[in-house]
């Protein structure tokens, strides 16, 4: 399938940046900022320094106005950078939501008086439609709301929702009956039963999700906030504590003076985990956005995080692990028969067979023996498959060619006076043992051989399962096949386990069993009969081509209807958590260097010997404090790309991953600020030198 990637604009496109800037200024409002308590505390500290700055302009303050002013400016920038990061992450989603909204505007619908009378309708606005209404949609018209096709089949362009330009078939009955409001019918007329009230439609939910208006904090995010708020509280107390302690010490040592409010506020902001707190909202939003760009809609942030925890993955065999249809892969002659004769007879029996299996027999015969034929030969009588005979084929020149299950063909050939080849049972059993389906072919009373019809496992799927395995995720294949076939395919696809002859209630039971054992279960599904299992699963991915019931039961919807997407979802789920964890570690590790900058700078006047702690050799107390504050502010925009893209993810055992990330973000987080603060201090020194040079006579 050719994909059009929606919203491919770079995060840093100038337009988006400007919008984000405007938005970030609005977000400085404390009433909005309270959702991020750490940054709110920083804002209050910034306000305090601003007040101190005002005071230093009019009165005599402990610190010169330029110093307090600069510190205050950088503290405000710290808050602004944080709101900017969030606005930037939201920006791209907003652009897409706006385009979606266009699809929703001013749609009218032909509401039917009764579902079976397509001639009697009234034209109403989409907002007037209620669940249970029936509407008629004709070619070229927009479907006014989410629903299910109850009559007819149509070609529908779902590009506004999926970004997929090729139209798809939507038909009544079966698993492809769901239609989405805002999509356009291209050909044929259908009757749709509306299943969702206006304002709750898929498109509406998507828009609110993308805009982040309804973004609720996930449990993990809240737990992380607990950590950050607690640390912030302690650091606030550390700074409050430093006031009286330094006052006492200054009095006791007879030199220096108590640490000023400006320095205390600077110390507080530097110590508070601002880096992670500033980027926390952006990480979650950006994670959802990365999913959108993979054409996956997560209906809650919780579902994505849960995806990162999944231990068991239930996959439908058909369409996920194997291509939807079985294919003929070999002709197996009975003793004394030539392979080509089997191929010829099979070809004849399949010429009129339009099923994918029948066509694959024709294809194989062409490929192996160059037996060219197309369409039904002239004068032939087609015998279609019937439940009674369980055979199909054709009669040509009085000779019947048939293919079907072994017992059915034996019965047919026996009826014509044929005998059963001695090796038939063995050969048929051999094919079945290998996980394939034997299709026996006869020409008149003579049983010639069998066609090996095989489920074709998708190429490259084994590698994906191995990747999942290395992440500790167990894969379970679910199939309606018999256990023998299932086992063979499971072995070929390298899944860890399989459930054969599965009925819907078996799926539900399997999920419950795993959950009882404490495991997190993900499953993909599309049919209405999958809905109960989807509702039970922790991570339920519904295909967009699936039924409305399946889509409602799921918490993630894959617009591409590609079941192996779960891998991407798992990966993004993990990435979001890892980015949070890594930035938390980085943020806290930073504090060590900041202490070595600020503590000697603010206390060395009291005890000059504490200058020994100035291991970075920073030029002056004020430049040390400024350098720490500037570093603390600048690190936020520097890490925005990381927060938006997520930290790199390679599947590896947990312990190695921890060591790697600790080295990268823990040790890196300790070292980086030493380098950064020293560099800024040197830069400030040069700047000061230059300023003095120009001002000096």
């Amino acid at each position: 399938m050719a994909h059009r990637q929606p919203a491919s604009a770079s995060i840093f496109a100038p337009g988006l940046l400007l919008d984000a800037l405007a938005e970030s200024l609005k977000k400085l409002d404390p009433r909005l900022l309270w959702r991020n308590p750490v940054m709110l505390a920083v804002e209050i500290a910034s306000a305090a320094t601003l007040a101190a700055f005002g005071y230093s302009l009019i009165g005599t303050a402990a610190e010169p106005a330029w110093f307090t002013g600069t510190v205050s400016a950088w503290l405000w920038l710290t808050v602004l950078f944080s709101t900017f990061a969030e606005a930037l992450a939201e920006g791209r989603g907003k652009a897409r939501a706006a385009s979606l909204r266009q699809a929703r505007t001013a749609v009218t619908a032909k509401r039917l008086a009764a579902p079976d009378r397509v001639d009697a309708y009234t034209v109403v606005g989409a907002e007037a439609l209620r669940r249970g209404d029936y509407i008629l949609v004709e070619p070229g018209e927009l479907i006014a709301g989410d629903g299910e096709v109850t009559a007819g089949a149509a070609l529908v362009n779902e590009a506004p929702v999926t970004g997929e330009s090729a139209p798809v078939v939507r038909e009544s009955g079966g698993d492809r009956s769901a239609v989405t409001g805002g999509t356009t019918v291209i050909a044929n007329t259908i009757v749709v039963r509306i299943t969702v009230n206006p304002g709750e439609t898929f498109l509406d939910r998507m828009i609110t999700l993308i805009e982040g208006a309804q973004r609720r904090k996930t449990p993990n995010e809240t737990a992380l906030e607990v950590l950050l708020i607690s640390l912030t509280l302690v650091f606030l107390l550390v700074c409050v504590n430093l006031g009286p302690l330094s006052a006492y010490s200054a009095a006791a040592s007879g030199q220096g003076r108590p640490v000023t409010l400006t320095v205390l506020a600077a110390l507080f902001v530097c110590l508070a985990p601002t880096t992670i707190a500033a980027l926390l909202p952006a990480i979650g939003i950006a994670g959802m956005d990365r999913l959108f760009r993979k054409n996956v809609i997560a209906l809650s942030g919780r579902a994505i995080e849960a995806a990162g925890d999944v231990n068991v993955l239930l996959l439908d065999k058909t369409g996920t692990i194997t291509h939807g249809n079985r294919e003929a892969v070999a002709f197996v002659p009975m003793a004394g028969q030539a392979e080509e004769e089997v191929a010829r007879a099979a070809l004849m029996a399949s010429l009129a067979d339009e099923t994918p299996e029948g066509r694959s027999v024709v294809g194989l015969a062409q490929q192996c023996f160059g037996l060219a034929a197309s369409g039904t030969p002239e004068g032939a009588t087609v015998v279609p498959f019937s439940a009674a005979t369980r055979l199909s084929g054709l009669d040509l020149d009085g000779m019947p060619y048939r293919k079907g299950a072994a017992d059915a063909v034996v019965a047919f050939a026996g009826g014509l006076g044929g005998s059963v080849p001695r090796d038939l049972d063995n050969k048929v059993a051999a094919i079945a043992h290998a996980g394939a389906t034997p299709l026996v072919v006869c020409r008149g009373p003579e049983i010639l051989g069998a066609v090996n019809l095989k489920d074709i496992v998708k190429s490259g799927i084994q590698e994906r399962f191995r990747k999942l395995g290395s992440m500790g995720i167990k894969t379970v294949m679910i199939t309606g096949d018999n256990p023998l076939t299932a086992a063979a395919i499971a072995a070929e696809a390298e899944v860890d386990d399989f459930l054969a002859e599965a009925r819907p209630e078996d799926k539900l039971r399997l999920i419950k069993e795993h959950q009882e054992a404490g495991l997190m279960v993900a499953m993909t599904g599309d049919g209405t009969n999958d809905a109960p299992a989807l509702a039970q699963a922790d991570v339920a991915v519904a295909m967009n081509t699936g039924t409305q019931a399946a889509r409602e039961a799921a918490n993630i919807i894959d617009l591409d209807s590609n079941p192996t997407k779960l891998l991407d979802i798992v990966e993004i789920g993990k990435q979001i958590l890892m980015t949070r964890g890594n930035l938390t570690t980085f943020s806290i590790a930073n504090d060590i260097a900041k202490y070595f900058a600020i503590v000697p700078a603010s206390l060395a006047a009291i005890y000059p010997q504490l200058g020994a702690l100035n291991v970075m050799g920073l030029a002056s107390p004020r430049s040390a404090i400024l350098s720490a504050v500037i570093f603390n502010a600048l690190i936020i925009p520097l890490l925005v790309p990381l927060a938006l893209k997520g930290t790199g993810f390679k599947p590896m055992p947990a312990e190695r991953l921890l060591i790697r990330n600790l080295l990268l973000y823990g040790v890196g987080g300790m070292v980086a600020p030493f380098v950064g603060i020293k560099a800024i201090d040197l830069g400030l020194g040069l700047l000061l030198h230059f300023l003095q040079g120009t001002v000096a006579p």
Partner: protein, 577 residues
């Protein structure tokens, strides 16, 4: 260190390690209600207790019920001890007719003994009668310790159990802790101490003539002292539980430096062993109860590592001495405030162990340690007393740190964090943060309050950075329920008595309730079996990370205060005062 010091340190840790497995397994059996060697003897006593108290031993409690029982039990203990102290003059076994405690001092002392702190704002031999020492203080030594152990056991059950609201019966846990664990070991230990010369009698204080009368200055002019008064008392019985229950409140003011409390190097050895014994064995009890003893060994290794490092730092600082000592021509390290009979190594080990656990008994004066040496006990307390810690409380705090470490590490590997198969969620994080930070918050807030109060500042013996250390140490000791004193501070001041009592009560019961809440929440969760994606918490990388989390949280919380206290003290001393 010389060979002898290495040998005695090695021997101590060797004996400790040998004792951990049997004792840990024994405690797991006791709290699991299984039969032990002592059952035939103690089951009747236990049954009698339950019958008297009207307790149904088979009925387990939810966490709220457990917490209420724990709080009520301790409140009753507080009220009883407070009353006894205030009525001392009316009670028997008071040969010196000591007056009652003032209410402030009584409140401080009652809070101190109920919270397993044993901060002593009074002098044992000059303020407390034998009755008070035995029926008041020693009783609390037992039950406060058992109370802390019960909370830890409830927390362990939280990790071990699945999908239940029940975390055990507080009354049963406390009774078994006292009957099966504390009493038998105390009995043996008291006998061993008596064999070394620790006294045990009800005799009146003895006057002994001095061989060499000496002249002293008194406010009334010069006087000649011809005799000394030797305090007596039932010391050994209190000494044993003082160490075993990591209580630390000495019978005498001089605590374990007093020859009647700690006469010989062997008694010194025994006392160190006693204070480490239960907290160390608890790690194995934990491992057994959660069904993976490697988890317990991991925590034990971390604790040992922290304690050994602290000991070596302290020992080195004391051996190095200070610049003023060197200028005075004094070689052989800093022996000020230490007992010659123990020497530098054994003293350092005692002081490191007493602050690494929440014992707080002292065999040397911490005020006289070198600035860097004094930083070690102070830091050990400020880190939350996790290097073994108090009986029960130490393991609980360590588990809270582990929860936090697991949380961050879990995120870093991209999974909802889980520890011992239990998912760590919002409630667990809140409770773990409360456990880990409550004492630190109290220290920061109360020491700031003291520094801003002139009368409180005036109570320090030394000015400058050392004075600041004294106040910081006092609140660190009280809030972390250690009870050791830096000395030098006039702790009898109402300000310290009352604020200190509050600090001790917060430092004990806020984390305890938080742990029980965490236990309740954990017990209700289902168990998540480990997979390839699960972070192993019984291996070196996680252990190292846990150590880092403990150190970083401690360092970040207290670096500025320490810079103005011991660090400034050290740096100014190096340059000469």
């Amino acid at each position: 260190m010389d060979l002898l010091a290495w040998l005695q340190t090695g021997l101590l840790f060797g004996v400790l390690l040998l004792a951990i497995k049997p004792l840990g397994a024994y405690m797991a059996k006791v709290y699991g209600g299984q039969r032990t060697l002592l059952s035939p003897l103690l089951i009747p006593c236990e049954q009698l207790l339950y019958r008297v108290g009207g307790v149904d031993a088979d009925e387990e409690m939810g966490w709220q019920q457990y917490a209420v029982a724990m709080l009520l039990f301790n409140l009753a203990g507080l009220a009883m001890l407070f009353t006894l102290l205030c009525l001392q003059h009316l009670l028997p076994l008071n040969p010196r007719n000591l007056p009652p405690f003032t209410w402030q001092l009584a409140f401080n002392t009652a809070a101190s003994f109920v919270t397993n702190t044993n901060w002593q704002a009074y002098g044992g031999e000059t303020a407390a009668s034998y009755f008070i020492q035995m029926a008041g203080l020693t009783v609390q030594n037992f039950v406060a310790a058992a109370s802390g152990m019960a909370v830890a056991i409830a927390l362990i059950r939280g990790f071990a159990r699945r999908r239940t609201a029940l975390i055990g019966n507080f009354w049963v846990d406390v009774s078994r802790g006292v009957l099966y664990i504390l009493l038998p070991i105390s009995l043996l230990a008291a006998l061993a101490l008596v064999s070394q010369g620790v006294i045990q009698n009800f005799a009146p204080y003895r006057s002994v003539p001095l061989l060499q009368p000496s002249a002293v200055d008194t406010p009334l002019g010069q006087a000649t002292v011809t005799e000394a008064i030797l305090p007596m008392g039932p010391v050994a019985s209190q000494e044993a539980i003082k160490m075993l229950g990591t209580n630390g409140g000495g019978f005498f003011n001089a605590n374990s430096t007093h020859p009647f409390e700690n006469p010989t190097p062997l008694s010194h050895f025994l006392e160190i062993l006693l204070m480490l014994l239960i907290p160390a064995a608890f790690t194995h009890t934990f491992g057994l109860m959660v069904g993976n003893s490697r988890q317990g060994w991991t925590l034990l290794t971390i604790m040992l590592l922290l304690l050994a490092t602290a000991f070596l730092l302290l020992y080195r600082a004391e051996v190095a001495g200070t610049a003023p000592l060197a200028r005075a021509g004094i070689a052989g390290g800093n022996m000020e405030g230490k007992e010659i009979r123990f020497g530098l190594a054994a003293t350092s080990l005692f002081e490191a162990a007493t602050t690494a656990t929440s014992c707080g008994a002292v065999a040397a004066m911490h005020d006289s340690l070198t600035p860097l040496g004094g930083l070690v006990p102070l830091s050990l307390m400020l880190l939350g007393e996790v290097a073994f810690g108090g009986v029960g409380a130490g393991l609980s705090t360590m588990l809270a740190f582990a929860v936090i470490a697991v949380f961050i590490a879990g995120l870093m590997i991209g999974r909802t964090p889980e520890y011992l198969g239990k998912k760590i969620e919002v409630l667990e994080m809140w409770m773990a943060m409360v456990v880990v930070l409550a004492a630190g918050i109290v220290v920061l807030a109360f020491s700031a309050l003291a520094m801003a109060t002139p009368s409180a500042v005036a109570a320090t013996a030394n000015g400058g950075a050392h004075g600041l250390s004294e106040i910081l140490y006092a609140f660190a000791s009280m809030a972390n329920n250690n009870g050791s004193a830096f000395a030098g501070l006039n702790a009898g001041l109402d300000f310290y008595a009352l604020l200190g009592a509050v600090a001790m009560l917060i430092g004990r019961f806020v984390p305890a309730v938080a742990m029980l809440a965490m236990a309740g929440s954990l017990a209700a969760k289902k168990y998540v079996p480990p997979s390839l994606g699960t972070l192993p918490t019984d291996k070196a990388p996680f252990a190292l990370w846990l150590v880092l989390v403990i150190l970083i949280v401690g360092a970040l919380s207290f670096f500025p205060a320490l810079a103005l206290g011991p660090i400034a003290d050290h740096l100014t001393t190096v340059g000469g005062r």
